[in-house]
Symmetry: C2
DNA sequence: AATAATTTTTAGTTAAAACTAAATATTTGT
DNA sequence: ACAAATATTTAGTTTTAACTAAAAATTATT
Protein backbone atom coordinates (compact mmCIF):
# COMPACT_ATOMS: atom_id res chain seq x y z
CA UNK A 1 0.00 0.00 0.00
CA UNK A 2 1.34 3.41 -0.96
CA UNK A 3 0.69 6.50 1.14
CA UNK A 4 -1.66 7.80 -1.53
CA UNK A 5 -3.69 4.59 -1.68
CA UNK A 6 -4.02 4.63 2.08
CA UNK A 7 -5.33 8.19 2.10
CA UNK A 8 -7.91 7.33 -0.58
CA UNK A 9 -9.14 4.27 1.29
CA UNK A 10 -9.46 6.30 4.48
CA UNK A 11 -11.34 9.06 2.66
CA UNK A 12 -13.81 6.55 1.20
CA UNK A 13 -14.32 5.08 4.66
CA UNK A 14 -15.09 8.45 6.23
CA UNK A 15 -17.41 9.50 3.41
CA UNK A 16 -19.15 6.13 3.33
CA UNK A 17 -19.93 5.71 7.00
CA UNK A 18 -22.49 8.54 6.88
CA UNK A 19 -24.76 7.04 4.23
CA UNK A 20 -25.52 3.56 2.96
CA UNK A 21 -25.20 4.66 -0.69
CA UNK A 22 -21.91 4.29 -2.59
CA UNK A 23 -19.45 7.19 -2.39
CA UNK A 24 -19.33 9.43 -5.46
CA UNK A 25 -16.22 10.29 -7.45
CA UNK A 26 -16.74 14.01 -6.90
CA UNK A 27 -17.13 13.61 -3.15
CA UNK A 28 -13.79 11.80 -2.99
CA UNK A 29 -12.15 14.43 -5.20
CA UNK A 30 -13.42 17.14 -2.84
CA UNK A 31 -12.22 15.36 0.28
CA UNK A 32 -8.81 14.68 -1.20
CA UNK A 33 -8.44 18.12 -2.82
CA UNK A 34 -7.83 16.53 -6.19
CA UNK A 35 -9.60 16.25 -9.57
CA UNK A 36 -12.34 13.73 -10.39
CA UNK A 37 -10.26 12.26 -13.21
CA UNK A 38 -7.46 11.46 -10.76
CA UNK A 39 -10.00 9.78 -8.52
CA UNK A 40 -11.29 7.58 -11.34
CA UNK A 41 -7.73 6.43 -12.09
CA UNK A 42 -7.19 5.54 -8.45
CA UNK A 43 -10.56 3.79 -8.11
CA UNK A 44 -9.69 1.52 -11.03
CA UNK A 45 -6.41 0.65 -9.35
CA UNK A 46 -8.02 0.05 -5.96
CA UNK A 47 -10.70 -2.11 -7.61
CA UNK A 48 -7.99 -4.22 -9.25
CA UNK A 49 -6.41 -4.66 -5.82
CA UNK A 50 -9.74 -5.76 -4.37
CA UNK A 51 -10.13 -2.84 -1.97
CA UNK A 52 -13.23 -1.24 -3.52
CA UNK A 53 -16.26 -2.26 -5.56
CA UNK A 54 -16.46 0.02 -8.55
CA UNK A 55 -19.24 0.12 -11.11
CA UNK A 56 -18.71 2.72 -13.81
CA UNK A 57 -20.57 5.96 -13.12
CA UNK A 58 -22.01 4.44 -9.90
CA UNK A 59 -19.41 5.38 -7.28
CA UNK A 60 -17.54 3.00 -4.99
CA UNK A 61 -17.94 1.06 -1.77
CA UNK A 62 -15.18 -0.51 0.29
CA UNK A 63 -14.77 -4.28 0.23
CA UNK A 64 -14.27 -6.05 3.58
CA UNK A 65 -10.56 -6.02 2.88
CA UNK A 66 -10.68 -2.30 2.08
CA UNK A 67 -12.63 -1.57 5.23
CA UNK A 68 -10.12 -3.47 7.37
CA UNK A 69 -7.30 -1.40 5.92
CA UNK A 70 -9.23 1.84 6.46
CA UNK A 71 -9.85 0.91 10.09
CA UNK A 72 -6.19 0.13 10.69
CA UNK A 73 -5.24 3.57 9.37
CA UNK A 74 -7.91 5.26 11.48
CA UNK A 75 -6.60 3.32 14.47
CA UNK A 76 -3.08 4.54 13.87
CA UNK A 77 -4.22 8.13 13.24
CA UNK A 78 -6.17 8.31 16.47
CA UNK A 79 -3.57 6.58 18.64
CA UNK A 80 -0.92 9.02 17.43
CA UNK A 81 -3.30 11.90 18.23
CA UNK A 82 -3.60 10.61 21.79
CA UNK A 83 0.21 10.38 22.01
CA UNK A 84 0.66 13.95 20.79
CA UNK A 85 -1.86 15.36 23.28
CA UNK A 86 -1.22 13.16 26.32
CA UNK A 87 2.55 12.78 26.11
CA UNK A 88 3.86 15.69 24.05
CA UNK A 89 1.27 18.23 25.26
CA UNK A 90 0.04 19.31 21.86
CA UNK A 91 -3.38 20.96 21.95
CA UNK A 92 -6.23 19.16 20.24
CA UNK A 93 -6.31 21.58 17.33
CA UNK A 94 -2.66 20.94 16.40
CA UNK A 95 -2.56 17.18 16.12
CA UNK A 96 -4.35 16.47 12.87
CA UNK A 97 -1.65 17.48 10.37
CA UNK A 98 1.05 15.48 12.15
CA UNK A 99 -1.17 12.42 12.68
CA UNK A 100 -1.94 12.56 8.96
CA UNK A 101 1.74 11.71 8.40
CA UNK A 102 2.29 9.36 11.33
CA UNK A 103 -0.68 7.16 10.35
CA UNK A 104 1.38 5.84 7.42
CA UNK A 105 4.30 4.46 9.44
CA UNK A 106 4.47 0.72 8.83
CA UNK A 107 5.10 -1.38 11.93
CA UNK A 108 2.64 -3.63 13.68
CA UNK A 109 4.84 -3.77 16.74
CA UNK A 110 5.14 0.01 16.93
CA UNK A 111 1.41 0.64 16.97
CA UNK A 112 0.63 -2.11 19.44
CA UNK A 113 3.35 -0.98 21.83
CA UNK A 114 2.13 2.59 21.47
CA UNK A 115 -1.40 1.44 22.29
CA UNK A 116 -0.18 -0.24 25.46
CA UNK A 117 2.05 2.71 26.39
CA UNK A 118 -0.95 5.05 26.13
CA UNK A 119 -3.02 2.76 28.38
CA UNK A 120 -5.28 1.35 25.64
CA UNK A 121 -7.29 4.54 25.14
CA UNK A 122 -10.83 4.16 23.77
CA UNK A 123 -11.24 7.61 22.24
CA UNK A 124 -8.97 10.19 20.61
CA UNK A 125 -8.64 13.84 21.70
CA UNK A 126 -11.72 14.75 19.63
CA UNK A 127 -13.88 12.09 21.25
CA UNK A 128 -13.72 9.72 18.27
CA UNK A 129 -13.51 6.01 19.11
CA UNK A 130 -10.26 4.12 18.42
CA UNK A 131 -10.65 0.83 16.51
CA UNK A 132 -9.09 -2.22 18.16
CA UNK A 133 -6.31 -4.31 16.62
CA UNK A 134 -9.06 -6.40 14.99
CA UNK A 135 -10.93 -3.35 13.68
CA UNK A 136 -13.70 -3.36 16.28
CA UNK A 137 -14.92 0.01 17.44
CA UNK A 138 -17.31 1.13 20.18
CA UNK A 139 -20.28 2.87 18.63
CA UNK A 140 -20.89 5.88 20.85
CA UNK A 141 -24.56 6.86 21.10
CA UNK A 142 -24.14 10.58 20.78
CA UNK A 143 -26.34 13.42 19.60
CA UNK A 144 -25.57 16.85 18.23
CA UNK A 145 -26.27 19.55 20.80
CA UNK A 146 -28.59 21.26 18.32
CA UNK A 147 -30.94 18.24 18.36
CA UNK A 148 -31.58 18.49 22.09
CA UNK A 149 -34.72 20.07 23.56
CA UNK A 150 -34.60 22.69 26.32
CA UNK A 151 -34.00 21.37 29.84
CA UNK A 152 -31.95 18.40 28.64
CA UNK A 153 -28.48 17.62 29.86
CA UNK A 154 -25.48 15.78 28.46
CA UNK A 155 -21.74 15.27 28.52
CA UNK A 156 -19.60 16.69 25.75
CA UNK A 157 -17.98 13.70 24.04
CA UNK A 158 -16.89 14.86 20.61
CA UNK A 159 -16.80 17.41 17.84
CA UNK A 160 -18.08 17.13 14.28
CA UNK A 161 -15.99 19.96 12.86
CA UNK A 162 -12.32 19.46 13.75
CA UNK A 163 -10.98 22.66 12.18
CA UNK A 164 -8.49 24.74 14.15
CA UNK A 165 -10.93 27.66 14.12
CA UNK A 166 -13.66 25.66 15.84
CA UNK A 167 -11.41 23.86 18.32
CA UNK A 168 -9.79 27.12 19.36
CA UNK A 169 -13.19 28.70 19.80
CA UNK A 170 -14.08 25.89 22.19
CA UNK A 171 -10.83 26.31 24.12
CA UNK A 172 -11.42 30.05 24.40
CA UNK A 173 -14.93 29.49 25.73
CA UNK A 174 -13.83 26.87 28.20
CA UNK A 175 -15.63 23.98 26.49
CA UNK A 176 -13.73 20.68 26.65
CA UNK A 177 -14.53 16.99 26.26
CA UNK A 178 -15.99 15.58 29.46
CA UNK A 179 -17.76 18.80 30.42
CA UNK A 180 -21.41 18.64 31.43
CA UNK A 181 -23.66 20.83 29.33
CA UNK A 182 -27.29 21.65 30.07
CA UNK A 183 -29.60 23.32 27.59
CA UNK A 184 -31.36 26.20 29.35
CA UNK A 185 -33.22 27.68 26.40
CA UNK A 186 -33.51 27.22 22.63
CA UNK A 187 -34.19 30.05 20.19
CA UNK A 188 -36.03 28.32 17.33
CA UNK A 189 -35.71 31.41 15.09
CA UNK A 190 -31.92 31.27 14.58
CA UNK A 191 -31.08 27.96 16.21
CA UNK A 192 -29.00 29.57 18.94
CA UNK A 193 -29.06 28.32 22.53
CA UNK A 194 -28.50 29.37 26.09
CA UNK A 195 -26.49 26.69 27.84
CA UNK A 196 -24.75 26.11 31.13
CA UNK A 197 -21.30 24.59 30.95
CA UNK A 198 -19.76 23.49 34.24
CA UNK A 199 -22.12 25.91 35.94
CA UNK A 200 -21.29 28.93 33.76
CA UNK A 201 -24.03 30.29 31.47
CA UNK A 202 -23.20 31.20 27.88
CA UNK A 203 -25.06 31.81 24.63
CA UNK A 204 -23.96 29.86 21.55
CA UNK A 205 -24.89 30.14 17.88
CA UNK A 206 -26.45 27.41 15.76
CA UNK A 207 -23.07 26.84 14.06
CA UNK A 208 -21.54 25.84 17.36
CA UNK A 209 -24.50 23.75 18.51
CA UNK A 210 -24.45 21.85 15.22
CA UNK A 211 -20.87 20.70 15.76
CA UNK A 212 -20.81 19.49 19.36
CA UNK A 213 -21.65 15.87 20.19
CA UNK A 214 -23.15 15.05 23.59
CA UNK A 215 -23.73 11.75 25.31
CA UNK A 216 -27.17 11.74 26.88
CA UNK A 217 -27.59 9.87 30.17
CA UNK A 218 -30.51 7.40 30.27
CA UNK B 1 12.34 17.82 0.31
CA UNK B 2 10.97 14.44 -0.72
CA UNK B 3 11.59 11.29 1.29
CA UNK B 4 13.96 10.05 -1.38
CA UNK B 5 16.01 13.26 -1.45
CA UNK B 6 16.30 13.12 2.34
CA UNK B 7 17.60 9.55 2.28
CA UNK B 8 20.21 10.46 -0.34
CA UNK B 9 21.43 13.48 1.62
CA UNK B 10 21.69 11.37 4.76
CA UNK B 11 23.60 8.64 2.90
CA UNK B 12 26.10 11.18 1.53
CA UNK B 13 26.56 12.56 5.03
CA UNK B 14 27.33 9.14 6.54
CA UNK B 15 29.67 8.14 3.71
CA UNK B 16 31.43 11.51 3.74
CA UNK B 17 32.17 11.82 7.43
CA UNK B 18 34.70 8.98 7.28
CA UNK B 19 37.01 10.51 4.68
CA UNK B 20 37.81 14.01 3.50
CA UNK B 21 37.52 13.01 -0.18
CA UNK B 22 34.25 13.46 -2.12
CA UNK B 23 31.77 10.57 -2.01
CA UNK B 24 31.66 8.42 -5.15
CA UNK B 25 28.58 7.63 -7.19
CA UNK B 26 29.07 3.90 -6.74
CA UNK B 27 29.43 4.21 -2.96
CA UNK B 28 26.09 6.04 -2.80
CA UNK B 29 24.45 3.48 -5.08
CA UNK B 30 25.68 0.69 -2.80
CA UNK B 31 24.48 2.40 0.36
CA UNK B 32 21.06 3.13 -1.15
CA UNK B 33 20.68 -0.25 -2.87
CA UNK B 34 20.11 1.42 -6.21
CA UNK B 35 21.92 1.80 -9.54
CA UNK B 36 24.70 4.31 -10.27
CA UNK B 37 22.65 5.86 -13.08
CA UNK B 38 19.85 6.63 -10.64
CA UNK B 39 22.38 8.22 -8.32
CA UNK B 40 23.72 10.48 -11.06
CA UNK B 41 20.18 11.67 -11.82
CA UNK B 42 19.58 12.49 -8.18
CA UNK B 43 22.96 14.19 -7.74
CA UNK B 44 22.15 16.54 -10.62
CA UNK B 45 18.85 17.38 -8.96
CA UNK B 46 20.43 17.90 -5.53
CA UNK B 47 23.16 20.07 -7.10
CA UNK B 48 20.47 22.27 -8.71
CA UNK B 49 18.85 22.61 -5.30
CA UNK B 50 22.16 23.65 -3.77
CA UNK B 51 22.51 20.66 -1.45
CA UNK B 52 25.61 19.08 -2.99
CA UNK B 53 28.68 20.13 -4.99
CA UNK B 54 28.90 17.91 -8.02
CA UNK B 55 31.71 17.88 -10.56
CA UNK B 56 31.23 15.35 -13.33
CA UNK B 57 33.06 12.09 -12.69
CA UNK B 58 34.45 13.51 -9.43
CA UNK B 59 31.85 12.52 -6.85
CA UNK B 60 29.93 14.85 -4.52
CA UNK B 61 30.30 16.70 -1.24
CA UNK B 62 27.50 18.24 0.82
CA UNK B 63 27.13 22.01 0.85
CA UNK B 64 26.59 23.71 4.23
CA UNK B 65 22.87 23.71 3.47
CA UNK B 66 22.99 20.02 2.58
CA UNK B 67 24.91 19.20 5.75
CA UNK B 68 22.37 21.07 7.88
CA UNK B 69 19.55 19.03 6.34
CA UNK B 70 21.48 15.78 6.85
CA UNK B 71 22.04 16.63 10.52
CA UNK B 72 18.37 17.40 11.06
CA UNK B 73 17.44 14.00 9.65
CA UNK B 74 20.08 12.26 11.76
CA UNK B 75 18.72 14.15 14.79
CA UNK B 76 15.20 12.92 14.11
CA UNK B 77 16.36 9.36 13.42
CA UNK B 78 18.26 9.12 16.70
CA UNK B 79 15.63 10.80 18.84
CA UNK B 80 13.00 8.39 17.53
CA UNK B 81 15.36 5.50 18.31
CA UNK B 82 15.60 6.71 21.90
CA UNK B 83 11.81 6.94 22.06
CA UNK B 84 11.38 3.41 20.78
CA UNK B 85 13.85 1.94 23.28
CA UNK B 86 13.16 4.08 26.36
CA UNK B 87 9.39 4.46 26.09
CA UNK B 88 8.13 1.60 23.93
CA UNK B 89 10.68 -0.95 25.13
CA UNK B 90 11.99 -1.98 21.74
CA UNK B 91 15.41 -3.61 21.88
CA UNK B 92 18.28 -1.77 20.24
CA UNK B 93 18.43 -4.16 17.31
CA UNK B 94 14.78 -3.52 16.32
CA UNK B 95 14.68 0.25 16.09
CA UNK B 96 16.49 1.03 12.89
CA UNK B 97 13.83 0.08 10.35
CA UNK B 98 11.11 2.04 12.10
CA UNK B 99 13.31 5.10 12.72
CA UNK B 100 14.12 5.02 9.01
CA UNK B 101 10.46 5.88 8.42
CA UNK B 102 9.87 8.18 11.39
CA UNK B 103 12.85 10.40 10.50
CA UNK B 104 10.83 11.77 7.55
CA UNK B 105 7.88 13.13 9.56
CA UNK B 106 7.72 16.87 9.02
CA UNK B 107 7.04 18.90 12.16
CA UNK B 108 9.50 21.12 13.99
CA UNK B 109 7.25 21.18 17.00
CA UNK B 110 6.95 17.41 17.12
CA UNK B 111 10.67 16.77 17.21
CA UNK B 112 11.43 19.49 19.75
CA UNK B 113 8.66 18.31 22.08
CA UNK B 114 9.88 14.74 21.66
CA UNK B 115 13.41 15.87 22.56
CA UNK B 116 12.14 17.49 25.74
CA UNK B 117 9.91 14.52 26.57
CA UNK B 118 12.90 12.18 26.32
CA UNK B 119 14.93 14.42 28.64
CA UNK B 120 17.23 15.90 25.96
CA UNK B 121 19.26 12.70 25.44
CA UNK B 122 22.81 13.13 24.11
CA UNK B 123 23.24 9.72 22.54
CA UNK B 124 21.00 7.18 20.81
CA UNK B 125 20.65 3.51 21.84
CA UNK B 126 23.77 2.63 19.80
CA UNK B 127 25.92 5.25 21.50
CA UNK B 128 25.81 7.68 18.57
CA UNK B 129 25.56 11.37 19.47
CA UNK B 130 22.32 13.28 18.78
CA UNK B 131 22.74 16.59 16.94
CA UNK B 132 21.16 19.63 18.62
CA UNK B 133 18.40 21.74 17.08
CA UNK B 134 21.17 23.85 15.52
CA UNK B 135 23.07 20.86 14.18
CA UNK B 136 25.79 20.80 16.83
CA UNK B 137 26.98 17.40 17.94
CA UNK B 138 29.34 16.25 20.69
CA UNK B 139 32.32 14.55 19.14
CA UNK B 140 32.91 11.51 21.34
CA UNK B 141 36.55 10.56 21.61
CA UNK B 142 36.14 6.86 21.23
CA UNK B 143 38.37 4.05 20.04
CA UNK B 144 37.65 0.64 18.63
CA UNK B 145 38.35 -2.08 21.17
CA UNK B 146 40.71 -3.73 18.70
CA UNK B 147 43.03 -0.69 18.82
CA UNK B 148 43.62 -0.97 22.56
CA UNK B 149 46.76 -2.54 24.06
CA UNK B 150 46.64 -5.17 26.81
CA UNK B 151 45.99 -3.89 30.33
CA UNK B 152 43.92 -0.91 29.12
CA UNK B 153 40.40 -0.19 30.30
CA UNK B 154 37.41 1.63 28.85
CA UNK B 155 33.65 2.10 28.86
CA UNK B 156 31.57 0.67 26.05
CA UNK B 157 29.94 3.69 24.34
CA UNK B 158 28.92 2.56 20.88
CA UNK B 159 28.88 0.01 18.08
CA UNK B 160 30.23 0.35 14.57
CA UNK B 161 28.17 -2.47 13.07
CA UNK B 162 24.48 -2.00 13.90
CA UNK B 163 23.20 -5.20 12.28
CA UNK B 164 20.70 -7.34 14.17
CA UNK B 165 23.16 -10.22 14.15
CA UNK B 166 25.85 -8.23 15.95
CA UNK B 167 23.54 -6.47 18.41
CA UNK B 168 21.93 -9.75 19.37
CA UNK B 169 25.34 -11.31 19.87
CA UNK B 170 26.17 -8.53 22.32
CA UNK B 171 22.87 -8.99 24.16
CA UNK B 172 23.51 -12.73 24.41
CA UNK B 173 26.98 -12.17 25.84
CA UNK B 174 25.82 -9.54 28.31
CA UNK B 175 27.64 -6.65 26.65
CA UNK B 176 25.72 -3.38 26.81
CA UNK B 177 26.49 0.34 26.46
CA UNK B 178 27.89 1.73 29.71
CA UNK B 179 29.66 -1.49 30.66
CA UNK B 180 33.30 -1.31 31.73
CA UNK B 181 35.62 -3.45 29.66
CA UNK B 182 39.25 -4.22 30.44
CA UNK B 183 41.64 -5.85 27.99
CA UNK B 184 43.38 -8.72 29.74
CA UNK B 185 45.31 -10.15 26.82
CA UNK B 186 45.65 -9.69 23.05
CA UNK B 187 46.39 -12.49 20.60
CA UNK B 188 48.22 -10.70 17.78
CA UNK B 189 47.97 -13.77 15.51
CA UNK B 190 44.21 -13.67 14.94
CA UNK B 191 43.32 -10.37 16.59
CA UNK B 192 41.22 -12.04 19.28
CA UNK B 193 41.21 -10.83 22.86
CA UNK B 194 40.63 -11.93 26.41
CA UNK B 195 38.55 -9.26 28.15
CA UNK B 196 36.73 -8.72 31.43
CA UNK B 197 33.29 -7.24 31.20
CA UNK B 198 31.69 -6.19 34.48
CA UNK B 199 34.05 -8.60 36.20
CA UNK B 200 33.28 -11.59 33.99
CA UNK B 201 36.06 -12.91 31.72
CA UNK B 202 35.30 -13.80 28.10
CA UNK B 203 37.20 -14.38 24.90
CA UNK B 204 36.13 -12.41 21.79
CA UNK B 205 37.11 -12.64 18.13
CA UNK B 206 38.66 -9.88 16.06
CA UNK B 207 35.31 -9.34 14.32
CA UNK B 208 33.72 -8.38 17.61
CA UNK B 209 36.62 -6.26 18.82
CA UNK B 210 36.63 -4.33 15.56
CA UNK B 211 33.02 -3.22 16.05
CA UNK B 212 32.92 -2.05 19.67
CA UNK B 213 33.67 1.57 20.53
CA UNK B 214 35.14 2.36 23.97
CA UNK B 215 35.66 5.66 25.74
CA UNK B 216 39.08 5.70 27.35
CA UNK B 217 39.42 7.56 30.65
CA UNK B 218 42.30 10.10 30.81
C1' DA C 1 52.21 5.24 -23.63
C1' DA C 2 48.79 2.29 -24.98
C1' DT C 3 45.34 -0.84 -23.61
C1' DA C 4 42.22 -2.85 -20.33
C1' DA C 5 39.21 -2.40 -16.49
C1' DT C 6 36.34 0.33 -13.86
C1' DT C 7 33.49 4.19 -12.92
C1' DT C 8 30.31 7.53 -14.26
C1' DT C 9 27.20 9.68 -17.29
C1' DT C 10 23.78 9.84 -21.05
C1' DA C 11 19.83 8.25 -23.64
C1' DG C 12 15.77 6.11 -23.71
C1' DT C 13 11.86 3.37 -20.89
C1' DT C 14 8.68 2.45 -17.17
C1' DA C 15 5.36 3.13 -13.30
C1' DA C 16 2.92 6.05 -10.01
C1' DA C 17 0.17 9.87 -9.36
C1' DA C 18 -1.12 13.96 -10.62
C1' DC C 19 -3.12 17.24 -14.35
C1' DT C 20 -6.24 19.34 -18.66
C1' DA C 21 -9.41 18.81 -22.20
C1' DA C 22 -12.69 16.15 -24.49
C1' DA C 23 -16.08 12.49 -24.63
C1' DT C 24 -19.75 9.94 -22.55
C1' DA C 25 -23.17 8.73 -19.10
C1' DT C 26 -26.49 10.05 -15.66
C1' DT C 27 -29.62 13.14 -13.48
C1' DT C 28 -32.62 17.13 -13.44
C1' DG C 29 -35.98 20.42 -15.09
C1' DT C 30 -39.46 21.76 -18.18
C1' DA D 1 -39.78 12.78 -23.22
C1' DC D 2 -36.22 15.69 -24.34
C1' DA D 3 -32.87 19.19 -23.57
C1' DA D 4 -29.79 21.09 -20.25
C1' DA D 5 -26.95 20.55 -16.46
C1' DT D 6 -24.02 17.73 -13.89
C1' DA D 7 -21.09 13.81 -12.98
C1' DT D 8 -17.84 10.56 -14.55
C1' DT D 9 -14.66 8.53 -17.56
C1' DT D 10 -11.20 8.50 -21.28
C1' DA D 11 -7.21 10.19 -23.73
C1' DG D 12 -3.16 12.39 -23.66
C1' DT D 13 0.60 15.02 -20.88
C1' DT D 14 3.72 16.00 -16.89
C1' DT D 15 6.84 14.99 -12.96
C1' DT D 16 9.45 12.00 -9.92
C1' DA D 17 12.27 8.28 -9.27
C1' DA D 18 13.40 4.19 -10.68
C1' DC D 19 15.48 1.03 -14.47
C1' DT D 20 18.67 -1.00 -18.75
C1' DA D 21 21.90 -0.45 -22.25
C1' DA D 22 25.28 2.20 -24.42
C1' DA D 23 28.71 5.90 -24.46
C1' DA D 24 32.30 8.49 -22.32
C1' DA D 25 35.67 9.53 -18.79
C1' DT D 26 38.85 8.06 -15.38
C1' DT D 27 42.01 4.86 -13.32
C1' DA D 28 44.90 0.80 -13.39
C1' DT D 29 47.95 -2.48 -15.75
C1' DT D 30 51.20 -3.98 -18.76
MN1 LIG E 1 -2.45 10.64 5.66
MN1 LIG F 1 -9.15 12.92 15.77
MN1 LIG G 1 14.69 7.04 5.73
MN1 LIG H 1 21.25 4.51 15.91
Amino acid sequence: MTLSEEDYVKAIYHLGKEQSAPVSTNAIADQMSTKPSSVTDMMIKLAEKGLVNHKKYQGVTLTDHGKAIALSIVRKHRLWEVFLVDKLHFSWDEVHEVAEQLEHIKSEKLINHLDKYLGFPEVDPHGDPIPSKKGEMKKTVKKLLIELPAKSIGICVGVKDTSQAFLRFLDKNGIALGDTISVLDREEFDGSMQIAINGIEIHISQQIAANLFLKIPE
